[in-house]
Each structure stands twice: as structure tokens, then as C-alpha cells.
């Protein structure tokens, strides 16, 4: 029991610390969340947001410190105990079984015993009450990502939570869906439920939260009301230094030039059962242009990337680079023409995690190393050349390594991404096709990567940017298309298309 207990506070964390091995993930964090408050938790990857939340939800146990709920000391040993205290959580990656229906998915996670029929009624009532339309008998397989998130939220709401934790809830949503979600969250807060909202999107936090706590390197840097802090100073507090402003290049300089690469009626079958079929995709990109392809994840981005890179092949006419038909050529050949690719998946696609950076450089550069006709030179590993190139990639792109030439998986996500983008730039490409370049990357690295892309476009190269991050697309691309269920919309000039229009093109209204 504490003596200075404030009746409006739901949960109070005092000096909470958590260490993993030697690593201090949370360093004596104190935070309190009022009843009915939307409290944002802001921080870069690795700042300790997830660890803190996991402590609150009973997934990991704090090494030190106290948690008070309604003024009483509690220890939370498991998610089940957390739920019994009225804490619910919606994870960033949903834990739903695609083959089961909505109600079945909820049924298996409930702590109480209830019949399916009864539950379906309850789901419908809750859905109506909070404005989260959902069909309880539908299979999760057939739901959009936004609908799946609703299932997760309803799952929490059925337990009448006093605190709802949401981990990066908007990263998979369209602008319209985000607005819808915000309405629900506000309604919830008004009813007295506290919300802990984890995000790294500053505008959103400003929009939805009343209070923001900023974490950096496991410590609370600042905790203020959102009306008293600007997004710029939030960003600076979050990364600990000034944010570089990046400037977009002058447009129109490329308008009259012929296309660098054009895609004509490209069709591809789905890669897997849950994949998306590409239907008659056509667009072209000119030198100096950045074309942004927006869209909610899982609408054919992976298939499109594979088709553009040559990992899946089709008819020669489908892709024309300058005047060469390359739709049926492999990735090695396309690289030799001056195309470069950065796929979405960093580990195990763009790089091999368990080999060194030098070897990872070699992975996409070996072709250029063995141009002479000497058989032995072609067959032996030319580690000198790739280690020189690796060093210059590391230096040019500020890739921070724990020691020289580490394994790829020893780099943090942001640094690895800087390395991968740097590797593509090092090849001096004429066309760069890049997918989700800043996904899961901290804000500092993300802005560095974006300014590199702008510089490349300025130097007269063509860029195709596939991204879920609408802010990013608006920030750097000249034209925008939207991919939805395997079809691509016509490109529009960035300044002439609103976020709302994009949302409609994403198929959600």
C-alpha cells in the first residue's frame, strides 16, 4: 500500500528494471496511467518499449521494481494473471489461426467456459457496442488485416479490460481504418478504460494520445502531455539528436524523357496458398523519378518484387528495360544490366544471417568480380575485392558494426538495412527497386535511407519504392500507385492524391 495513492490512477509502475544477461533493457522505469487515459509509449526499436509492456502483461518478469494496480502491489506472473487484473493486449503480430472462424479463435483463448453459440452472440453485441463490425462465423483466412485486428480487440474487450495495451496497431492499416480504430479507442477511453498505445509514428500520437512517455535506451527520457510537446521535439527526444530534414528533388525535370523501365500487363500466379495473384500490372518509371507503390501488406507486394527482380519469370515483353525485353531473364542478368533490388525481408533474403558482411557483399557482387575469362579467377572466392567494397559500403552509409566484418545477424535491423541499401547503391544502379526500405528501422536510420534514395533519384536514376508506410511514400515519391489484391492503380502525381483517395484505392472505405 502506498500512502500517496491517487484514486484516478489505474496502474503505476515504479522503478521497474529488467536485465537480459548483461543487457539492461529497462532501467528503472516509472510511469503511471490514469483511468480513461490514452497514454502513448514512444521509442525507437530496442528502446525498451516491448520489454516494459511484456512486464505489464506478465510475459516477462521484471528484475526489479514494483507494479501497483489501483494502489495495490501486484506481481504479474502470466498473461492469465494480467487478464485477471483487467489488462488486455493486442500484439503487433496477430495470434490467430487462419483456418478457424472468428468465434473459434476467440473461444480457445478465453479463460472462462462458454458455449460457441453464446459466444457468437456476445461477439455480435460487443462488436455493435464499440463499432467494430465483424462476422463471428467467418473464417479468419477470409478477413482483411484490419478485420483481424478487430478480432484481437474484441477478444480483449470481452474480458472487460481496465487497461488495453496496443502494440503498433496502425502499421498494417489504411488511413480510413486508422481513423476507424481511433474512434473506437476514444470511445473506449471515454468509458473509463485506459489505453497504452505503443507507436513510433509521431503524428498519430499527437492525434490520439493525451500523454506521451518517451523511452530511449531503456530509460524514461520524458513524460508529458501531448499538447505541450511538438512532434519535432518528440523525435529529438526519441533518437537523442537533431533530425535531419530531407528535401525532395525538383520535379518535372524527367517528364519528357523516355521510360527507364516499363512493365506491361504483367501476370503472376500466387507464390503460396496465402499469396496473391498479380493481375495485368502495367506502369513505367522514368530516370530521375521515384514511383511509390502503396498498399496494405499482403496485396501482392512480395509477388511484384519477385517478378521485378527475376526470381519468378514470365514472358519477355512483360518487362522492358530501356529497349531490352527482360521479362524472362534471371536476376543475375538483370543486375548486369544495371538493375538493383532490395527485397522486404532483410534476413534470409537480402542477406544470409549466418555469414559475414564481406560474404554478403560477395553474394550480389560476385558477378562483377569475375569478368575476366580466367577460369581460376572466376571460380575462386575473391575475398579481397568484396572486403574492400564492404568497407566502403560501411563507411559511406554509416553502418555501425560491433567489430570489423561481423556476421549479418550481429547488426541491428537498422544498420543491416543501411548495409543492404548501401550495397545496392554501391553497384551504381540505373534502376533501383526497393521494398519496405524502412520497415522496422529506427527513425534515424530511416531518414538516412530516404535521403540516400532522394540523392540517387537526383543523380538521374529511376526508383520503384514499394512501401506500406504512406508517410514515406508521400515524403519521397513523385508519383503514387496503389496495389490492391494483385492489381495496380494508375499512377497519380503525389501532390494530387490525398490519403483518403489512397485509402479508397486500397479497397477500404
Amino acid at each position: 500500500m502506498t500512502n500517496n495513492f491517487d484514486a484516478t490512477t489505474f496502474i503505476e509502475v515504479k522503478n521497474l528494471s529488467k536485465t537480459f544477461d548483461q543487457f539492461l533493457a529497462n532501467d528503472s522505469i516509472s510511469i503511471d496511467i490514469k483511468k480513461g487515459e490514452i497514454h502513448a509509449l514512444l521509442g525507437e526499436n530496442g528502446a525498451g518499449k516491448s520489454t516494459l509492456v511484456k512486464c505489464l502483461y506478465g510475459v516477462v518478469k521484471p528484475t526489479d521494481g514494483q507494479i501497483l494496480i489501483n494502489g495495490k502491489h501486484v506481481t504479474i506472473n502470466s498473461p492469465r494473471e494480467a487478464r485477471s487484473y483487467g489488462i488486455g493486449m493486442v500484439f503487433q503480430h496477430f495470434s490467430l489461426f487462419p483456418a478457424l472462424t472468428v468465434s473459434e479463435n476467440i473461444l480457445i483463448s478465453l479463460d472462462e467456459k462458454i458455449t460457441k453459440k453464446h459466444l457468437e452472440d456476445k461477439i455480435s453485441i460487443t462488436a455493435k457496442q464499440w463499432g467494430l463490425p465483424i462476422e463471428p462465423t467467418k473464417k479468419v483466412l477470409d478477413l482483411s488485416v484490419g478485420e483481424q485486428q478487430r478480432v484481437e480487440i474484441i477478444r480483449c474487450l470481452l474480458q472487460n479490460p481496465k487497461l488495453l495495451i496496443m502494440d503498433e496497431p496502425t502499421s498494417v492499416l489504411s488511413p480510413q481504418e486508422i481513423n476507424q480504430l481511433f474512434k473506437v479507442l476514444r470511445k473506449l477511453a471515454n468509458s473509463g478504460c485506459s489505453i497504452l498505445y505503443i507507436s513510433h509514428k509521431l503524428n498519430e500520437i499527437k492525434q490520439i494520445a493525451s500523454k506521451v512517455t518517451i523511452l530511449r535506451s531503456g530509460k524514461v527520457i520524458s513524460s508529458t502531455s501531448t499538447s505541450k510537446i511538438s512532434t519535432t521535439s518528440m523525435a529529438e527526444k526519441m533518437i537523442g539528436k537533431k533530425v535531419k530534414k530531407i528535401t525532395k528533388i525538383s520535379k518535372n525535370s524527367f517528364l519528357n524523357s523516355p521510360p527507364a523501365i516499363s512493365i506491361n500487363n504483367l501476370n503472376r500466379k500466387k507464390l503460396s496458398q496465402f499469396g496473391t495473384e498479380l493481375k495485368k500490372i502495367s506502369f513505367n518509371v522514368k530516370y530521375g523519378e521515384i514511383l511509390g507503390i502503396a498498399g496494405v501488406a499482403g496485396n501482392g507486394q512480395v509477388e511484384l518484387m519477385n517478378a521485378l527482380s527475376g526470381e519468378t519469370l514470365g514472358d519477355p515483353d512483360e518487362i522492358i528495360f530501356e529497349d531490352k525485353k527482360i521479362g524472362n531473364t534471371n536476376i543475375k542478368f538483370r543486375r548486369s544490366l544495371g538493375l538493383e533490388f532490395v527485397p522486404e525481408e532483410r534476413n534470409g533474403h537480402a542477406t544470409v544471417p549466418e555469414i559475414t558482411l564481406t560474404e554478403n557483399t560477395f553474394l550480389t557482387f560476385y558477378n562483377t568480380y569475375s569478368k575476366n575469362n580466367n577460369f581460376l579467377d572466376d571460380i575462386l572466392l575473391s575475398s579481397n575485392m568484396s572486403s574492400n567494397d564492404t568497407i566502403s559500403i560501411i563507411n559511406d552509409n554509416d553502418v555501425r558494426c560491433p567489430y570489423s566484418n561481423p556476421l549479418a545477424d550481429q547488426l541491428s535491423g537498422g544498420n543491416l538495412q543501411k548495409f543492404i541499401v548501401g550495397r545496392s547503391l554501391k553497384a551504381n544502379p540505373k534502376v533501383l527497386i526497393i521494398s519496405q526500405p524502412t520497415w522496422g528501422v529506427d527513425i534515424g536510420a530511416a531518414s538516412e535511407i530516404r535521403s540516400k534514395l532522394l540523392l540517387l533519384a537526383k543523380a538521374g536514376k529511376a526508383i520503384i519504392l514499394i512501401s506500406q508506410d504512406l508517410d514515406e511514400i508521400y515524403e519521397i515519391s513523385n508519383n503514387i500507385c496503389v496495389i490492391n489484391n494483385g492489381s495496380l492503380s494508375k499512377p497519380k502525381i503525389t501532390s494530387k492524391i490525398s490519403a483518403k483517395d489512397i485509402g479508397i484505392l486500397m479497397g477500404i472505405n
Partner: protein, 358 residues
């Protein structure tokens, strides 16, 4: 709760200690089993662990026994590094033997070693052809190579049985299913060591390992195709992204591995049997899978692993012969040794701690 955390740096302390502990535990539990089954404990342990080293000729025989295991194991490194599961080395071994042997029997009077040399080539090619069946099916139709290569083992076994009982049976063999004896030019002779003479069955074929082992190490670690195999094995998507040809890699690793199995068969029969018989391999192709993994897919490791497994096999044989301990009991021993050696690797790779849960 027991927690396994991966070690950042491989512990050299445990690298040395863990095999020793593994062997000690094997000895301890093994003695218990001998005790329960009322065999003389010390005598049994002596036969299993010490007798293979008790005489120079017995030590030499360890290498003889290890030779086919190592050569097949070296070939399997290619497949397993690429994550291609060739389980049919036994069949490739048999087919290599059969084709090379049949070829040798066509030239009954030959004394020159050109014949032996040709047999090596035929053995390699026929082993490779046998492995190319799962390779083609995998590449063209995406048929699982594990099943195809395994089933082809039984085809090869039955085929050699048919050939030796039928077309190639020696009319003078008194009805035994044996072929005629190989001509001199097809026999690998035993090594006549200066001042010592012959040591057990130690033959010249064993020396091929001295060439193969560094060659394969160099290929895997220092050449582009070796690099491609490694990358393909650790991440298929990354290797496709790099532009490596998936089908080519799948095909070639199976060919090389099948070919080396065939060569191992040629050496085994030309050195130790000198004729074809229904049983030319004693599960070498299967045991070599264990050898390849115990050697951590490293050519030098495979040599060491081959020697360890061969020693265990010979020790078990001796215990069987001298004390009449049944094969199943000594089999338990071999199994335990492997089990603990592999468990010991876990200690090397992971830090194990016990976490208290309330």
C-alpha cells in the same frame, strides 16, 4: 525450467571436455547394462574400448573399416550443406560396385592397373547416375529426394542380388551366389610396410582420403561453387536473390555425392573382397550419414568421425566374438556413444542454466 542460451563464442573448454564426458557417461551406463545382463564388466569394457587399439594390426583395421564411411561421408557433405537429403548413399555405393565389378570381370586376364583406374571412373559415373534419378525428379517435378534416394537403395540391393545369383555367378562357386574373382589388375593390394610387413587389411585405397579430404575442404571453403552450396543450404531465398541456379546446385551435389559413394564401393570390394557378392556393403551408406553429421559437415571432422564410428564398430565386433555378447547389446553401446557425443555438442553450443519458476 531449463534454459538454453546460445553461446556467442564457442567454448574451447567444453569443446575438449564434452567428448570426454560423453565417453565417460557411455562407459558408466554401459557398465551398468553389462552388470545387469551379468557379463564381466571390466572384460567387456576392455573389448569395446581398448581391444581395437591393442595391436598394431587392429589399429590398422580401424582405418580399413573407416575408409568407406569417410569417403561416402565426404560426398554427403556436399548434399547436406546444400540441405539436399541424400539418404540413398547405400544404393549408390552398391551400384558403383556392381558396374565397376562387372566391367572388371569382362577382362579376366588383365594385370595392369589401367583396369583399376577405369573402374574408379565407372564406379563414380554409375554412382552418380543412380543419384541423378532423385536429382532429376527433384528438379523437374519437385519429388522429395529423401524418398526416391531411399527407395533406390532397395532397388540396388535386389539388383546386385539378381546379378550375382544370375548372369555373373561363378560356375565354380558350388552354388554360392558369388561372382568370379577379379583379375589382378582390379585388386587393390595391401600395404607392405617396410620392416613391418602387412598390417591387418591396411590397403592402398585408404590413401585416397589424404587427397580427397583437403581437396573437398578447399572446394567448399575457397571456391564459388562451394560458396553457392553453403548459401543455398542456409537460405534458399537468399541464394535465389544472389542469382545462383537452384536446379544446378541440387543436381550437382547429388551427382558428386553419388559418385563418391560409388568410388567408396569400388575401393571396398577391390581391396577386401576381390569379387562381387550379394552383400557388398554393411550399411556403410547409412552409417556415413551419421559420420557426416558427427563430423559437422567438415571434411576433417568427417575423417575423425569415421574413425570414431569404425572403432566403436570393431570394439563391438570383438566383444561379440570374445565374450559372446549379442549384437543388440553392443548396438546399444554404439547408440549411446553417438547419443552422448551429439548431446555434448549441445553443451558446446548453448549455455544451459536452470531457472527457478514459482
Amino acid at each position: 525450467m531449463i534454459e538454453f542460451t546460445p553461446r556467442k563464442i564457442q567454448s574451447s573448454f567444453w569443446a575438449i571436455l564434452s567428448p570426454i564426458i560423453s565417453i565417460a557417461i557411455t562407459i558408466f551406463i554401459g557398465s551398468l547394462i553389462f552388470k545387469i545382463l551379468s557379463y564381466p564388466v571390466m572384460e567387456s569394457l576392455y573389448q569395446v574400448f581398448v581391444s581395437p587399439f591393442s595391436r598394431p594390426d587392429r589399429i590398422a583395421d580401424i582405418f580399413v573399416k573407416a575408409c568407406p564411411l569417410i569417403i561416402i561421408g565426404l560426398g554427403l557433405i556436399f548434399c547436406f550443406k546444400a540441405n539436399i537429403w541424400n539418404i540413398g548413399a547405400e544404393g549408390q555405393f552398391i551400384l558403383g560396385t556392381l558396374c565397376a565389378g562387372s566391367f572388371a570381370l569382362l577382362f579376366p586376364e588383365t594385370k595392369t592397373y589401367t583396369l583399376l583406374f577405369s573402374m574408379f571412373i565407372i564406379g563414380f559415373i554409375s554412382g552418380a547416375i543412380w543419384a541423378s534419378i532423385p536429382a532429376i525428379l527433384k528438379v523437374k517435378l519437385n519429388v522429395n529426394e529423401i524418398l526416391v534416394s531411399l527407395m533406390l537403395v532397395y532397388v540396388a540391393m535386389l539388383f546386385i542380388d539378381f546379378v550375382v545369383r544370375g548372369p555373373l555367378r561363378d560356375p565354380m562357386s558350388f552354388g554360392f551366389p558369388l561372382s568370379k574373382v577379379y583379375p589382378d589388375g582390379a585388386i587393390i593390394s595391401k600395404v607392405d610396410f617396410p620392416f613391418i610387413g602387412f598390417l591387418g587389411q591396411f590397403h592402398y585405397g585408404i590413401f585416397i582420403i589424404l587427397i580427397l579430404c583437403p581437396l573437398i575442404w578447399f572446394f567448399i571453403n575457397k571456391t564459388l561453387p562451394g560458396f553457392q552450396i553453403k548459401i543455398f543450404g542456409s537460405s534458399t531465398r537468399a541464394s535465389e536473390f544472389a542469382g545462383f541456379n537452384k536446379n544446378k546446385i541440387t543436381f550437382y551435389v547429388l551427382l558428386v555425392s553419388g559418385g563418391l559413394s560409388g568410388v567408396a564401393g569400388v575401393i571396398e570390394v577391390s581391396a577386401n573382397m576381390g569379387r562381387l557378392q550379394p552383400e557388398v556393403s554393411f550399411g556403410y551408406g547409412f552409417t556415413a550419414i551419421i559420420v557426416a553429421f558427427l563430423g559437422r559437415l567438415n571434411p576433417y571432422g568427417v575423417v575423425i568421425a569415421g574413425i570414431i564410428i569404425a572403432t566403436a564398430k570393431l570394439g563391438a565386433d570383438n566383444a561379440q566374438m570374445v565374450l559372446g555378447i549379442p549384437k543388440v547389446v553392443t548396438g546399444i553401446f554404439e547408440g549411446m556413444l553417438l547419443f552422448f557425443l551429439l548431446a555434448g555438442e549441445t553443451i558446446q553450443k548453448y549455455k544451459i542454466s536452470i531457472r527457478k519458476d514459482n
